[in-house]
Symmetry: C2
Subunit: 389 residues, 2 copies
């Protein structure tokens, strides 16, 4: 049952509907509580991460028009925990007068890599060389067009956290990818130095703010550690990355948080790798590390409220993901971590432990990046059971 | 309906029951969400500040044994938004095996000023000179005993935010106070320089941490502004205030947050004025201004988890209360404040606006205390309608 939306003297309490109930929706709760924003949730299950902590949770089909309409009818604006909502439904909702942010015109840039690559290239923004094909007999020409073997193959839709991505050296290796007869992107394998991410927030009235550019350390295609700001990043590169992210935000006309994942090449040049149109793993450090968190700025942006300062509050911040490991009882491990490091910020998402599943993260802020990395990694490793002291 | 308490792989998610649903319970929500602590609430009304944002809210009688028992039966520990719960009920719950923190042995020190004054004096801790009497014919002797007119009269129970406190100069002025035939404390009027507050957290296993000592600026007996740390406070006084608060915490054997409100006298000496055994208005600045907020440390303490660091994260923080004023629509005013000061942290409690009612607060952190005071005051004044630009 939704909580009452308003009472006397508060006629204009804003109401935000969130589709999807993972940790991203869950982490919108603290700023919503602080700013008295009424969150209404559409969750697949009553025990989803965000459903546990949002009173006005409707359990239903996050991809079904009926339930989306039901949520839309009681909120000022609809936004998302994830981008996997049928665009056709969102267009239908918009036609009926619902406010959808980010809008269905923007979301394909986050859900379809072919749309994204083409859109950014057409706008003159830097992306890896690529071709989009559907059949293996087109592959040879595509490989030539992007500069030769090896190449990276990506399904245009549905991949995340390293799924749907393959590095291949021969046509034989590539063949299984084409069995599904879906669009596949054939991309040069970029010889990058490291991965960066530039997170920005943009409001419908066009205001935008850019967070410090971070380094995203990946393992098996999953972001495992984020360092803010990216250590040793040249100021020109940092500025260029922020400018590029703001250009992307404007080009795709996004509202809310946009995370632009970037390859930093040896010559300092940048290429756009992926986009996400919602609070993103590379921005979790902003909860303690920036004046305004990405979750608060996402809510402000979709409500067209003035954006909060993205300024860092310390010299550096390090975030390490807690992936489900050997220890089922993370709360028991938490006690040890709290005793060892009283300034570590542990976030648990209320999710059952399954191997490799993102169940939480740890952030530490301070002056000495090496020390922060050690502390954050130790806390995360202890919670997952990688180490036991 | 309470949310499910746990799921696979999370057998030991801690469950905290909170009696009372004001802004203090509401501000426990962000750290509870982050640490995956399951909050269960007993609220007088379904639209109370905390009830709006806690799914597992039971509407009932916060002073009734049946409802307290019902809450106690489903939690690991009971704690409080306020101290106004009958001690007899809490003893009954404890006898039945419930864990009550702070316990009924400690709470009278926060609910009965006569108990508090006597207890601290007997422990050798500094309090104003006082006598406890019940009838006006005892007044003259009591006034002599505390050093003569004028004196401060306080009802032992029930007063807060300046209510239940009178400064009187004659017996005739004092007479109405005694019409209720309840215990009245007759106290010297302390010639203090300013009011300070020392907030500490203490866990059942005896661990304790002390936050920086703050200045509490009062108007008509209500705290209107808090500056952390107290400007120009001598280090010896600061250390003495923290030590005194820790001594009080130990003397009364409190668990959770203890706020000790202090008079700073011209000679640098300190006298205990009031105690609160819960997160306190003078600690709201810790949400953004300290590594661990008082709300998180209250939850950690009552769960006997290791306490978080109370270290400040900036040179200074200023908090200004938002009291209900002329503007009923605080959200409209909030938009202006956000645009003017992107780094101001506004907290709204979801409460209907009534004149003088605490409906929110603003915190700013930074280096220049004068600038912070101006900015926090401006934001609060704009929201309440005191100024319109």
């Amino acid at each position: 049952m939704p909580a009452p939306a308003s009472s006397e003297g508060q006629a204009h309490r804003p109401v935000v509907g969130v589709v999807g109930a993972g940790q991203l929706a869950r982490m919108m709760v603290p700023p919503a509580v602080e700013l008295d924003i009424d969150l209404r949730l559409l969750a697949a299950r009553a025990d989803d991460a965000a459903a546990q902590v949002i009173p006005a949770t409707m359990v239903g089909d996050e991809r079904g028009l009926d339930d989306l309409q039901r949520l839309a009818s009681q909120v000022d604006v609809l936004t998302f925990d994830h981008e996997h909502v049928p665009a056709a439904h969102l267009h239908t909702l918009e036609s009926a007068g619902a406010v959808v942010r980010p809008g269905p015109h923007a979301l394909p840039f986050a859900t379809d890599k072919a749309v994204m690559r083409r859109g950014l290239r057409d706008a003159g923004l830097p992306v890896p060389r690529f071709e989009v094909i559907e059949a293996v007999d087109e592959l040879s020409a595509a490989v030539d067009a992007v500069g030769g073997w090896p190449v990276v193959l990506k399904t245009a839709r549905g991949g995340y956290d390293g799924r749907g991505v393959w590095v291949v050296e021969t046509i034989a290796d590539a063949e299984p990818v084409f069995s599904a007869r879906v669009p596949v992107i054939v991309e040069e394998r970029v010889d990058f130095v490291r991965e960066l991410a530039a997170v920005v927030a943009r409001s419908p009235s066009g205001q935008a703010v850019a967070y410090p550019v971070v380094e995203s350390v990946q393992s098996d295609g999953i972001c495992v550690q984020v360092v803010a700001p990216a250590p040793g990043l040249a100021e020109t590169t940092s500025t260029a990355a922020q400018a590029l992210a703001l250009q992307v935000a404007s080009t795709v006309d996004v509202t809310g948080i946009l995370a632009v994942e970037l390859f930093e090449c040896a010559d300092g040049s940048l290429l756009v790798n992926e986009l996400a149109m919602r609070p993103h793993n590379t921005g979790h450090w902003t909860i303690e590390g920036a004046a305004t968190s990405q979750f608060e700025n996402h809510l402000r942006a979709v409500l067209d409220l003035p954006l909060g300062s993205p300024a860092p509050v310390a010299t550096a911040a390090v975030m390490v993901n807690v992936l489900g490991g050997d220890l089922p009882d993370v709360h028991r491990a938490l006690r040890h971590v709290m005793a060892r490091d009283p300034a570590a910020h542990v976030h648990l998402y209320g999710k059952a432990v399954r191997p490799g599943r993102k169940i939480g993260h740890v952030t530490v802020v301070g002056d000495d990046v090496d020390d922060l990395r050690r502390r954050a990694q130790h806390a995360a490793d202890y919670i997952t059971g990688v180490i036991d002291e």
